[in-house]
Symmetry: C2
Subunit: 230 residues, 2 copies
């Protein structure tokens, strides 16, 4: 898992290329802090952009249940996709329109998506998803039925190429603009957990599982996700 | 702005179609609560998924500075894109793997992206972006230089079709599973503002502008965005 992803025209960061990252450590950190991604794929020339829960295992990404499933079933060789993760970290209000910006961390991953058809691989992947999001949870659940497994499509791809892009510098104005009497600020943005709401139909005496102790009101989702990615 | 977007194979919600929305009011509410979107486009068969700040004016969407710009310059007729917005509202921990889910609001918009080349339209669009995010701010800024305007690409598209998708129901298990001694819960997720950090180089006496009074620590970004969309 060391080293960098190969850089070609496909994944080279063009705009503001000084923000680009190609090393696995940086790209994986951005991916592992996220629960949701957006996936771009093409059907008959038309691009689609679908949000979905995803998870990473080494250099493989997995997700399930997507409108691309029908297309994937028809294309046994797999289809090209781009899976993107974005964390919005702050709003940046500068002294001119041009320097308004946001601080963010994003990663774009390129690969060929394929359906995980092997039943054992599929069942293992689904357990891995639950455990990646909620440590040690899969074994505590009611077992999946054959019908549930059949109704679930698991899609996977090896990351062939990837790039990360990070902006952290907050307000960055032209030197001659700093003296102007114009308000400028960085406003942080964080995605946080609210107070967990146990299901009203929970039988009496069912305790909060150990693996969920990290899900506490006020905590940052990206930090909990990173922690749970191990 | 009333009425619904036309529904065809392109924007029909397939999976869990009972979650689908096609009326402008629902779709625009999802768009207007967001600052960031993800845009899918295709270059030589390869899909790309790019995050960017966007804004809406009626049935038009605008964004700027994208890796698609070069491609757009070469394709005067415009290129097909799909612009997607997603709000993650909660994590849903069910009693079996299959019913694990998230509550969310998402919107997918389809159209043909084109570069806004007319200088007056472009300048007006950039002011509109600043004011849409930060009420009444554009007029308070140092004016854009010709070079800054030239270095900025504004891209627009009319929404030809769109669909919204909303899940709000929290835990929804199979009837026979509710009695099982398995922890289940809905964990809310919110994107909130932190404490604004005025630029350290702000001259003494520059006040917080009236239009930024909504940007208060702890407020939900989607609520502030909705408020500022007017």
């Amino acid at each position: 898992m060391d080293g960098s992803y190969p850089v070609t025209e496909r994944n080279k960061v063009r705009r503001l290329h000084e923000r680009g990252r190609y090393d696995r450590e940086s790209v994986h950190a951005i991916l592992d802090a996220a629960m949701l991604c957006h996936i771009a794929y093409v059907i008959e020339g038309q691009p689609y952009c679908t949000p979905t829960v995803f998870w990473r295992e080494g250099d493989h990404l997995y997700w399930h249940g997507s409108a691309a499933s029908r297309m994937l079933r028809a294309q046994k060789g797999g289809v090209p996709v781009c899976l993107t993760v974005t964390h919005l970290d702050s709003l940046v209000l500068a002294r001119c329109g041009f320097n308004h910006s946001v601080d963010y961390r994003s990663a774009m991953c390129f690969g060929t998506a394929h359906i995980v058809d092997d039943p054992a691989h599929k069942a293992r992947a689904l357990d891995a998803m639950v455990n990646r999001l909620y440590p040690q949870r899969a074994a505590t659940l009611r077992e999946s039925t054959a019908q549930e497994l059949k109704a679930t499509t698991v899609i996977g791809m090896a990351i062939e190429q990837a790039s990360g892009k990070i902006r952290t510098k907050g307000v960055a104005d032209e030197e001659e603009d700093y003296a102007l009497p114009i308000y400028a600020a960085r406003i942080p943005v964080v995605q946080v957990l609210g107070t967990p709401e146990p299901c009203p139909r929970l039988p009496a005496g069912v305790p909060l599982p150990e693996g969920l102790r990290g899900f506490v009101a006020g905590r940052r989702l990206d930090e909990v996700m990173t922690e749970n990615a191990g």
